[in-house]
Symmetry: C2
Subunit: 349 residues, 2 copies
């Protein structure tokens, strides 16, 4: 596969592959302003929990460049403000906060005595976050191999490939790793309404990877399990909390319910940067409500009558009891997650 770049830092600019235009057009947008980066995250030019974390880190690097502050103290104030702005772009994924916190922590290092030193350090840190995600993705794929049988049929929800993570993928990385290991798998791709990330993006990536696959509507997953046989489901995560409850793209929970009813394994693949030990259970996760237009329109086509009311939660929470295992770059966590996740996150590699 020719690896497509999703997030590119080039000539002091951030380039983002505009995922709203895929699969029909491959176009990059350039950003020099962190406010525009926040807007790009909100409008989902870039999406996927790890990818928006990386993007926000580069957004902070841009903010450091934009700041007119004469000293480090002034720059730190500007960076705090920029961090708030970027953090507010999307509320559910923890990676956004994780990346911004990590960049701010780096900026506050006492050794950085000049504005220019902070600027360089921030860009370094953004690169490091990107590189860490890349590595974590590969490791997730490696750890998952023991869970995917030869010839497995797999249902995948949303998009969790390089597009969502910067490189390789989390849940799609599991599929990819199995494919690269010669396991002759078949992927059913949930189209993932309302934004159709599965139909638009996952198909696009799987085509490039040469993984056999077919798109289904989200409502067909139970039928496919009942009539075709499915070995496992694998999804990504926008936030995994201390007890293992997992927020992910709307529709994930319904897929987990179908998997449970059919005795199908249900795996979450996520880097530890997605794990939020500070939140005890899924009930405390804020669920972003997205604009009505995502449901009422597809492209320029209006579906519903004028004035139709909509509920459009972007995510749902799958309780830990429905999750067979959580695959991270540090290994596979099994229930009870209170202890296994803590061990993985705090115990180091």
């Amino acid at each position: 596969m020719d690896e497509y770049q999703v997030i590119v830092w080039e000539e002091e600019q951030l380039q983002l592959l505009d995922q709203r235009r895929l699969p029909h057009e491959v176009r990059y947008n350039s950003y020099e302003d962190h406010g525009e980066v926040a807007e790009a995250i909100r409008e989902m030019v870039v999406r996927g929990a790890p990818a928006i974390g990386i993007t926000a880190a580069y957004g902070m690097a841009l903010a450091a460049r934009q700041s007119a502050a004469a000293d480090v103290a002034g720059l730190l104030e500007d960076l705090e403000r920029a961090g708030e702005r970027l953090r507010a772009a999307r509320p559910t994924a923890v990676n956004l906060s994780y990346a911004i916190d990590r960049v701010l922590e780096r900026a506050r290092k006492p050794a950085l005595e000049t504005v220019e030193a902070v600027r360089s350090a921030l860009l370094e840190e953004a690169h490091a976050i990107y590189e860490d995600e890349r590595r974590a993705n590969r490791r997730i794929g490696e750890h998952s191999l023991e869970l995917v049988p030869q010839g497995a049929s797999i249902i995948h929800h949303c998009n969790t490939g390089a597009l969502a993570t910067g490189a390789y993928g989390t849940a799609l990385g599991v599929i990819r790793a199995a494919h690269e290991a010669g396991k002759e798998i078949f992927a059913y791709v949930d189209e993932t309404r309302p934004r159709l990330q599965g139909a638009r993006l996952t198909t696009w990536e799987l085509q490039r990877l040469g993984v056999p696959h077919a798109v289904i509507v989200d409502g067909a997953s139970g039928h496919v399990m009942r009539t075709h046989g499915v070995h496992l489901c694998v999804v990504g995560a926008d936030r995994v909390v201390a007890n293992g409850d997992t927020a992910n793209k709307i529709g994930t929970y319904n897929l987990a319910l179908a998997a449970r009813a059919h005795g199908v394994a249900f795996y979450v693949a996520a880097p530890t940067s997605t794990i939020d030990l500070a939140t005890p259970s899924g009930d405390a996760i804020e669920i972003e409500q997205r604009p009505d237009e995502e449901v009422t329109h597809v492209g320029e086509v209006q579906i519903t009558p004028d004035g139709t009311e909509v509920r459009n939660p972007a995510f749902d929470v799958t309780p830990a009891s429905y999750i067979s295992a959580i695959i991270t770059e540090r290994g596979v966590a099994y229930p009870p997650y209170e202890t296994s996740l803590r061990r993985l996150v705090l115990g180091g590699e």
Copy 2:
């Protein structure tokens, strides 16, 4: 509500409200040829199990008019052929066969001694089938009232209103009857991919009926149950077989799985014309596979990359064990359905 006519017989022509154009345009197509009627059923100008039954009956009346046969025997041969053609338009709903069988039985009455007498009798029979469906729908609504609590939140899948049934509705008739009885209900409308009958048609009908409602993507039903509280789900049926297994629009089974996980009542509302006692269980129901384009395109908008493979089953089967009750015009059937359905269908009213 100003009742909109869905199927109209006027001046020797069949008029069908073109449901593919709703909610944006109210347009009727005229048919004088039963082959074109079969095509209209296949292309879903008209859809919904009871409505396609009624339409096929009028298609048979048109076939009787089209026939050049000089005697009754010749006409019956032409009608058999027309029946096969109409029956083949869509394989899953039993109402199509039910209506055609009923019309053919009428045509074969020995008392009908002339071609003209058969022609008149067939039109009469089509009108009678329409009228029976109308009455059955009303009765379903009446019988359902005891099952819908005051202030109920209800999830509804696909479209089962007047558009699907000719008049009043089956599952939507349950919602309508509760609303008309002043129960202050709220309906969550599954958009129902791929053809979006919920988003396009159910919303259109509920707006006209003044029933408070909101559209959700199909994948959100479990989340809505988990976070908002839902009292019951109600769906229609394309075929209910002897043991209570029910074929209905794809996505119904996933909704039933979510309902079960949350202890939410799951009701099927269907006239006895939809009940097929000759088929013992859902495994024997043929599931129609629809064209890929229903999934790859919305209107003119292409979603998936060129060449993407699709699985597009139009229906799924919800096992009887997930169904709390089946509401018919002859009363409410409870498990075990082997006996309760038999009693309703064969026992008379």
